[in-house]
């Protein structure tokens, strides 16, 4: 069974968005760290990771169906 997540990248990370961000294929138990690597997002540019609206870290293991939001540091005023 194929599993998908929705990936939403914010601010300067938008350039790394996959072609179909609403249906990004993952393997069962794949970590956020692995997803970042597959999207070529440098881990040091990632500050905030949300899974279904709740803050998690790069070790979180995905089951499929999650909404994943990833933010760089944002500090403009």
């Amino acid at each position: 069974m194929e599993r998908y997540i929705q990936v939403r990248l914010f601010a300067s990370l938008k350039d790394f968005s996959p072609t179909d961000p609403d249906n990004f294929p993952i393997s069962h138990g794949e970590t956020i760290k692995s997803v970042l690597k597959r999207l070529d997002i440098p881990q040091n540019e990632v500050k905030l990771i949300f899974i279904d609206g709740v803050k998690k870290d790069v070790t979180y293991r995905l089951q499929g169906g999650e909404r994943v939001g990833i933010f760089p540091p944002v500090g403009g005023g």
Partner: protein
Amino acid sequence: MKMKLTEEIAKLSKESNHQDGDSYRSISVESTLKISQIHRCHGRDVEITALEAGIVPERYARNMKTYSHTQQAVLLKSTVSIVGLGGLGGVVVEILARMGTGSLNLIDGDIFEESNLNRQFLSSEKALQQTKAESAEKRINAINSSLIIHTHPEYVNEENAVDYLGKSDVIVDCLGGIQDRFVLEKASKKVGCPLISGAVAGLSGHVTTIFPNDLGLESIYGKPSDLPASGAEASLGCLPQIVTLVAAIQCSEVAKIILNKEVLFRNKIFTIDLLENVFEILDLAG
């Protein structure tokens, strides 16, 4: 013999009507100024006394269907510090002055330059090279001369922060860059005051409200020792529409804290992305 303040206010008040026809007693800006001169008191005190006597300063008439007389007086009695008077700070100043937040404490050591003109409401072609603190003071005086203003044309740092922020009811973090926000947060915790932090980059932005025992900036930016000096704004710039929106949300939080409302962005972050119209409230507690 000089009349009592309340009698003077009552004498110069007049009958007015709200847009829905409800009537109320009202006192004009001109009368408020006149009374403050006769009684040698601040316009803010005239307005507080008026509200406590059930008389509405006409400048707040459109607030009064949402805020009670007591709540408007509480706003007028409050002190808010605005740290950073650039994009976010300029809009926050504008909104809080019109809302009738009684005492505004303005902190920024910067001057205006041309690249500020796209988003910083206090900047103008004529104000280039003026200090942001001075421009903010002028703008507030032009909007609402009843307010008390303290300006500190300096950057906030470990030495001056507690001194400048000590008397605040709420502190608004409108700083640019990331490192200084941690200095400000530390000071806000030290003086036991809630901090409302807003930040923008490109067409994205976020707001969070931090009480002294809340998770705070580390839950957003990580450890201060691992921080870059600036964030995504260095590569994306800052657009006026997101700056204004984030600042408006910050002001909404200010008013709710002062008026003791419970629904706040504490241990949560309100994120906005205007490119794809994504608005989310996210849980920082994990």
